[in-house]
Amino acid sequence: KGDFHGHQVFRIVPKDDVQLALVRVLEDILDLELDFWRWVTPVDVRVPSHSLQVVKTYLENHCIKYFTMIKDLQALLDEEQRQMKSIAPAGN
């Protein structure tokens, strides 16, 4: 199974089209392996652990507002799995 330990999801709030364009630049940097969950404002993007520092620095250097929506994606997925396993056998 995919391992998402340390992956975070940022909610980015560009204040205008210029900042939105700056966020779009990130998408083209394949090494970052960013996964844009949604492109509407605000923008949500999954950031692998190896890209966290680069993306944070980039956003801060361009004064683009963001916050961490999900601190550890794998923790949420583990909880989702736990719930499915606890309910499924009895119900089905």
Partner: protein, 306 residues
């Protein structure tokens, strides 16, 4: 299906079992049609809710074209159960089903959905092996013949919005295309996604307004008002290109161009904390509020034949 757990997420086989149960319990109302096979050979099941007649005007609802949007497949299950429980008890649903059929495809992308359960929870596309690339999958909502290949889609197989080699190249899309064309009497086509709380109508690939924009806009406003009446969930609405962004090759642009006036797409609720990992306790509230909006669109379609 009364004891089925609607408050948890389910595997593909559990969803398929649910479909068979629902048919077995309601043989006079529900039947299952297999409209094709996915790339990996899984059946593409569509539930038909019908009280009789042949080739009645119909409403199409689909969920799960994007694999990781789990709340959509889960909502599809709730909608199916609601249709059978509200037929005979809810006057609007009863009137609609007495004159029209409803088709519901709960898992448009079964290969992708299975993959999210077994390999990668964050998978979006189907599982097509792309020739000449190590990257897998086509975005099924960029593969329709409506502005295919335009802005808002990608020709890079490694992109999440890879459009595929040609319009309708993907069996999951082609099967719906064939079904819609052969049916010929579908009056509303509603495609359900998550997440970002929006109700959208054509177009996505062009700034040209749909010729029915005023009516589509009015119905959308009424629908999101009904949706908000339950929990206060606030939706944006409008054409795809003006409300989100340009996206080419999308399903409802194609259906609208086929003459299906009431073509809509939902983006279900966003609690602002979880994205695609919406907790399972949100499934039923999400489905319940969406159902109210769906009923507005279905009722308008029923009362405004064309």
């Amino acid at each position: 299906t009364d004891t089925f757990h609607y408050t948890t997420y389910h595997t593909l086989s559990e969803i398929y079992s649910f479909q068979d149960m629902l048919v077995a319990e309601n043989p006079k109302l529900v039947s299952k049609t297999v409209i094709g096979q996915s790339y990996e050979g899984r059946p593409l099941n569509v539930l038909k809710f019908s009280t009789g007649g042949s080739n009645r005007p119909a409403i199409w609802i689909d969920t799960g074209i994007h694999a990781r949007e789990w709340v959509t497949q889960a909502s599809g299950i709730v909608f199916a159960k609601k249709i059978v429980t509200e037929y005979g008890t809810d006057s609007a649903v009863t009137e609609i089903l007495n004159r029209m059929d409803v088709f519901l495809e709960m898992v448009v992308n079964p290969d992708g959905y299975h993959f999210t359960h077994t390999n990668n929870r964050m998978w979006r596309k189907n599982r097509k092996q792309n020739r000449g690339s190590t990257c897998v999958g086509v975005d099924l909502n960029r593969n329709w013949n409506a502005g295919f290949g335009g802005h808002g889609s990608s020709n890079n197989p490694c992109s999440e919005i890879y459009r595929g080699t040609r319009a309708h190249s993907e069996p999951e899309v082609k099967s719906i295309v064939n079904f819609v064309r052969s049916h010929g009497n579908i009056k509303a086509f509603i495609s359900i996604h998550s997440y970002s709380q929006m109700l959208l109508f054509p177009y996505g690939y062009t700034r040209k307004p749909a010729k029915d924009q005023a009516e589509l806009d009015q119905v959308a406003q009424k629908a999101i008002t009904a949706l908000a009446s339950l929990y206060g969930t606030s939706y944006r609405y409008g054409s795809i290109i003006t409300t989100i962004y340009q996206s080419s090759g999308g399903s409802i642009d194609w259906t609208y161009n086929q003459g299906i006036k009431y073509s809509y797409t939902f983006e279900l609720r966003d609690t602002g904390h979880f994205g695609f990992i919406l907790p399972a306790n949100q499934i039923v509230p999400t489905a319940n509020e969406t159902w109210l909006a769906l009923k507005v669109i279905m009722d308008h379609t029923f009362k405004n034949p064309y």
